[in-house]
């Protein structure tokens, strides 16, 4: 199989999703990028051709999933080679103080939306044995100050495990758990990390690591500092 791929990336207006979208598009792939925000001029925003932007707010997961499927249809895509479901938000603090609204938004955006999107785009993934990539977090084992966030990521981990078995022979399912990265995630979650931020991985490295993981056949990848370091040295393939 040669030539450009059809790639879906959710949560592509910031952070890791934005870098992934730009990187794949710059290498000639067709990218459908989604985000919560309305962008006036997405060509200027991404600075790369071949990115189609769709505003799909995952706070309404069922609607966002339908919009994505409709857009793939409108674009005339016959298949999706890789779907990277990356969009996520967090809330940091003591779990007995977590506001109901934050609980609801994290569950809708981080878990319900990827579930609904995966179900809606399944026919495109099955068309040419594509790959569903779920972006988790190293918080998947549980974290006191990120309780609901950790739960949603554990949900994705469990989804990947059972869905991989269901989809065997039809489409691949992969889960990638990145460690703390120097994006705005923590700030948006209401957490001041201070100097610890210096210990976080650089977004570029994490993106290279995710791209390497997507190229690999690994079912489950934990992006540690060393994985990211070696990934940045690895050779690029078609993807």
């Amino acid at each position: 199989m040669e030539g450009p791929c059809n790639i879906l990336i959710t949560g592509a207006t910031d952070g890791i999703g934005l870098l992934l979208a730009k990187s794949y598009a710059a290498r000639g792939h067709r990218v459908l990028a989604t985000g919560r925000r309305a962008l006036d001029d997405h060509r200027t925003y991404f600075g790369v051709e071949r990115i189609v932007y769709l505003q799909a707010d995952q706070q309404e997961p069922v609607r966002a999933a339908k919009l994505i499927a409709e857009t793939a249809q409108k674009l005339g895509w016959e298949n999706i080679d890789v779907a990277i479901l990356n969009a996520a938000i967090g809330w940091a603090g003591s779990p007995d103080q977590e506001p109901a609204r934050s609980v609801q938004n994290q569950i809708a955006i981080n878990l319900t939306a990827p579930v609904c999107i995966a179900a809606e785009i399944a026919p495109w993934l099955f068309a040419q044995k594509g790959k569903l990539v779920l972006i988790g977090s190293t918080a998947v084992k549980g974290q006191g100050s990120f309780a609901t966030y950790a739960a949603t990521k554990a949900g994705l981990d469990g989804l990947a495990r059972s869905l991989r078995a269901e989809w065997r022979g039809r489409a691949a399912v992969q889960i990638i758990h990145p460690g703390p990265t120097q994006t705005d995630m923590h700030k948006k979650a209401g957490m001041s990390v201070g100097l610890a931020r210096r210990l976080f991985m650089r977004p570029k490295r994490v993106v290279a690591a995710i791209e390497r993981a997507v190229r690999s056949r690994s079912k489950r990848v934990v992006v540690t500092r060393s994985y990211a370091f070696f990934a940045s040295k690895s050779k690029e393939g078609r993807l």
């Binding site: 779990p95 609801q104 878990l111 549980g142 309780a147 739960a151 949603t152 949900g155 059972s162 078995a165």
Partner: protein, 253 residues
Amino acid sequence: MTALVTGAANGLGRAIVERLLDAGHDVTAIDREENGLNALAVEYKGALTVCLCDLADPEAIARTVSSLREPAFDLVILNAGISATGRFEEIPPDAYKKLIDINLQAPILLTTALSRDNRVNKGGKLVYISSLSHAVGYPGAAVYAATKDALAIYARSIRKPFKKNGVGVLTVFPGPIRTDHAELHAPPGAKASKRMAPDVLAGLVLKAISSRKTELYPGGAAAMGRFFGRLMPGLATSAMKRAIYDKLDGNTY
């Protein structure tokens, strides 16, 4: 002791409520099924408070919590759950939203709403009913499994912070239970006699509550599933696929 139990009208929830009431405790029972709740209320007068609530609705949860008569509870058992079985891509997104809202969002919202106002007593306990699928995976109910994994990790996350407030956390990972709900979702030909009776499970849960346990894999089958799932996770999920997914004859949600 005062206890709050969700999903109290049927199955494990009902069995737990009955055992608590028989032991002389005060129970608040939450369910969306009016008939089941009324039957309980008729059988047990006085010590039982019933509360009709659709746990898929966050606003209904908030209203219910603020209208609860008990100022605080010693025991909160978050048991309510539904399932959706079938091929992942054939179940409609609306059904998935409801599944996640009831199995995951509701227990978290109840936890935060009660703990924010200090309505769980010191020395009290929060109990989460996850599933043995946390250990072995569940092809044919991939999103159900996801909600139960998420709930298990939520419970693990809050254990330390809640310990500071003197509140304990117990997570239960039951295998198949002999209930109408399980009957509906089991593959054809599955033997009900192999599933654990709700009353037996309720007994094990209450025993674990009075111990210092933080996790309970009730019964021999669950213990074996946990062992097998830890040792050979891939093989365990493949075995689950052959036992359940490959025998599906339709979707139930």
